[in-house]
Amino acid sequence: MILRPMTLTEKVLARASGKTHVQPGDNVWVNVDTLMTHDVCGPGTIGVFKREFGKDAKVWDRNKVVIIPDHYIFTADSMSNRNVDILRDFAREQGLPYFYDVIDDKDGHWTFDAARGPLARQYGSRYTGVCHTTLPWKGHTRPGEILFGTDSHTCMAGAFNQFATGIGNTDAGFILGTGKLLIKVPESMRFFLEGALPPGVMAKDVILHVIGEIGFDGATYKAMQWEGPGVHTMSMDDRMTIANMAIEAGGKNGIFPCDQKTLDYVRERVSENGTRSDFDPVELDREQSFSYDRVFDLSKLEPTVACHPDPGNRKLAKEMSHIGLDRAYIGSCTGGKTSDFLAFAEVVRGKTVKIDTFGVPATTKVVQELKDTVWNGQSVWQILESAGVRLTENASCAACLGGPVDTFGRLNQPMKCISATNRNFPGRMGNKESEVFLASPYTVAASALTGHITDPREFIS
């Protein structure tokens, strides 16, 4: 029998289920390499685990569980603070080595001191920030592996040539007890990138363009596989931005081939953190079958915006200058990486923003890097502050998903906001009558300077 060649996703799933071959539609039990949860879904996941496996049950493998409080951290909301305490109790009881707690005291309670304000650092030495950006930094994303997380943007780790997807608490509770999950092998779609991005255009524009092309549900149940010479010109940060938003087209996962950039990035981080180094990438087969296969020429792309009310509502930034804005926001797993802030700073440097502009670094490492990067004697952090950006050291999800009312940057009344985040359904960033426009860090920066949606090429020579 001749078996059809497999796509990257099929190869990872075949390996994880101990099979030589799988095809779309097969239901397979996969062995899980990493399970990630956070403060929003962790307490419920732990609840399911204890209810189903008993209150003294032990997780299947404590080295494979990663817990990252990141969503509702810098808030005086007592329920949110309690939820971080639930995570801490569980990590202690189970002896989990990968719990990136906000405080250092293993027996302590977390409270946020609102009197100190939202900007100054309020975390201990182990705290990291947004989960999807923490996972690669701490060496938990590795080629060829399986990662599940109780968060829909878990698909970001597909940038590292692995199968990664979001699940609910019940499935996560099942994994905590068994280390396995039954999943359906998705069909794969191929996005073949040629050429290189022109000035002023970023990876964010690529994914916004593609979602606009296939629609907000155009990849539902499917794997989005990225290939082509254009992929190899992109940094790992760029690939993460693209993989992150597979879910905004309904995708099950996004996945990239492994190249030298992937290997260098991952090897450095696993050795820094002492995580598993015996990973095994999956290679591209020739003659794979896809349910969709298209070539995109990166050099033709322009700064793109996803308009209210969904990520597939695509327009070009240059066509939208009539939209006046009340706020600009840069942050999140998608748009709060160091490279995103550097792009933003390139545009606003030496100028002053015209509308309220909030900056929330994804991780505490991003905070550090912005302070350590010096341009002409000034740190990027200072450059941003002098441009009028309200920057916080408290790396977290913050207003990306609204959260409690005292969340930094939250839209507490109806307003128009341009944001480097990934989702803009009604109410996503707080007030449900607000309108959110998704764009690249360049476009958000240019728009912050003018107060209306602005093509950043006006500011980039």
């Binding site: 879904c41 204890k50 829909s152 609910g168 608490n169 539902t220 359904f425 109410g427 996503r428 449900k432």
Partner: protein, 181 residues
Amino acid sequence: MAHTVTSPIYVVQDNIDTDQIIPAQYLTLVPTIAEEYEKLGSYALIGLPDALYPERFVEDGKTQTQYKIVIAGRNFGCGSSREHAPIALGAAGVEAVVAESFARIFFRNCVATGEIYPYDTPVRLSDVLKTGDVATLDFDHDTLTANGQTYSLKPLGEVRPVIDAGGIFNFARESGMIPSR
């Protein structure tokens, strides 16, 4: 066990994401804690814009909805992976959502928790029916009857027994995949 449910329906359009089903500020409620589960029900669909949906899904001060069936357009449940979404609907007393299509994680969470039956409808019922119409959902024949018309729904297939069992844990135990307690 009754194999039909008759109830007023609540009709929503395309792309009802998980923030509209249960807004982020209520995610501090932990579904496995009984009182918090009930509270989640009281906030079900509270994120819908008032201008588009003037009828409240759950009346103020109540934890249960009068609408046991929700009719939706495309891509219902898109957005986050929060299991709070199907749970909020289930806790409010919803038995089924009948949609033109579902987002994947929401669909899976319906099945995993056994909270609600996510039926696909080939006919775009969200254009034909309106909130307050009374409908009967027949689980044996996979049909929905409203205003004198009977519509065939797509049978749930392999996920049906999982929801019938009350979610993946019960199902896995009944079928011997994990040891019973």
